[in-house]
Amino acid sequence: MNIKNIKNQFSIFTNHPDVVYLDNAASTQTPDAVLDAMNIYYTNYRANIHRGLYSFSDLATQTYEKARDSIAKFIGADSQEIVFTGGVTHGLNMLAAGLGKYLKPGDNVVLTEMEHHANIIPWQEASKIYGFELRFIPVVDFKLDMDVADQLIDERTKIVSFTAISNAIGTINPVHEIITLAKKIDAITVVDYAQAITSYNLDVRKLNCDFLVFSGHKMCGPTGIGVLYGKKERLEALDPFMYGGGMIREVSLAGASWADAPAKFEGGTPNISGAIGLGAAIDFLTGLGMEQIKEHRAGLAAYLVQELSKVVNIIGNVDEAKRSGVVSFAVGDVHAHDVADILNSNNVAIRAGHHCAMPLMKKLGISGTARASIGIYNSKEDVNRLVQGIGKVKEIFKI
């Protein structure tokens, strides 16, 4: 893959050629093609969808639905199994509220100790209301302890919800193994695919999960848009989360009946330009070639781990097969915040903090980490700049 050609397709890199952006686990840059698609909506056929009979509205509706079709194709699903959401956090809140209400005391939901807060708190709140138990697959040596997982997932387990790749330490979880354990006792499976969506060719049929969530802004799409995938029968059984216009069949003063999925879950005017942008992002990625993207990411992740290991302590696995290009590290006793600030002065953007994974940080006995994460437009030169910046940190703190 020609990185220079890719970077040229992002105006932000033309505007800021000196910036090395290595915070892709937080959010990715948006290519001009996506911005253009959104802009064309606003300047040529701006209208609400599913409602108007005039041309603008018809085109807006078609483009919005075409984006849904593209997403379905991208992940191996049917279009009616794709629900547009505001992002992963929104999707997980929908599931915890919608699935949680059918659980009772004695039932349990299994999560993991490495989950992002978005896949912990909604379940905590639901468990307070409906009385079910929350269990957490422990993290040992930066990996999930699958022996314990086997014990935790028992005949009272109703839902297993877990992340495919940890946003904090980059661990790649044994997704198929976990889904198999859940299927043995007919538990519903929810996969947080936020960090994995550009790392693999996702085929939800092969994965055979019940629900899966990801966000547009982590795959070169705009912010404020995401996807909840659900197997047809699961979405049919799930109650709506947000009630209002567009998600109904009939309404009287006495009550309402729901539309079919996915409309059932898309009440109110959605993020129309966001959906259109996400469709354009998928075209952009498939245009580059998912195989090439996968290869590039894997190669660069390996280089990142290799080069960082020489100069810092990596907080995570160093075994290539079990980790992604999301790398947490510590520079001696320097606080992550100082590391990030000094790197920022050198135009290298990384993240410092607990990465919305406080339970994991507590388990690891630390308050936070410095985290570098690669995107499709990063190169070996970017990694080298990161290493140079770390050299500066060591110089200042006399390590």
């Binding site: 320097v334 606080h335 915040h337 100082d338 002065s345 607990h354 308050s367």
Partner: protein
């Protein structure tokens, strides 16, 4: 900014004093006997500071200690602040402004580091 300008700016912030206070903070201890104890933290970066104060019969600070973890600027800030409030009364402590605290550090504090520099001060805002 060019490389030389970067270096100058970093050197201005990470002066000897700041690094020294990070590695050897002043008043870093817990108090078993205290009249005031409060904790604040900056969830975006993981700075976490707790300050405990014991007042004497004249109403001035007899002993003060801070615990927790944080970046160089927050540790330097709370070190200098806890030193500065020794022998002060509650009223005098409450009169200390954000600017007073920033002045203690004697370094330029950028917008992104303000919360770090003022974390200790924000703990003391709970003093009644």
């Amino acid at each position: 900014m060019n490389a030389a300008e970067f270096d100058n700016e970093l050197d201005m912030v990470y002066k000897e004093m700041i690094l020294d206070l990070y590695r050897n903070p002043l008043n870093k201890k817990s108090l078993s006997d205290f009249d005031f104890m409060h904790r604040e933290f900056n969830p975006t970066c993981g700075d976490d500071i707790q300050i405990a104060i014991k007042f004497n019969e004249h109403g001035t600070v007899a002993d003060v200690g801070h615990m927790g973890t944080g970046c160089a600027i927050s540790q330097a800030g709370v070190s200098l602040l806890t030193d500065a409030i020794k022998n002060k009364s509650k009223e005098q402590i409450k009169q200390m402004s954000k600017d007073d605290v920033l002045e203690l550090l004697q370094i330029p504090i950028s917008h992104t580091r303000l919360k770090c520099a003022l974390l200790g001060w924000s703990v003391l805002q709970s003093l009644t």
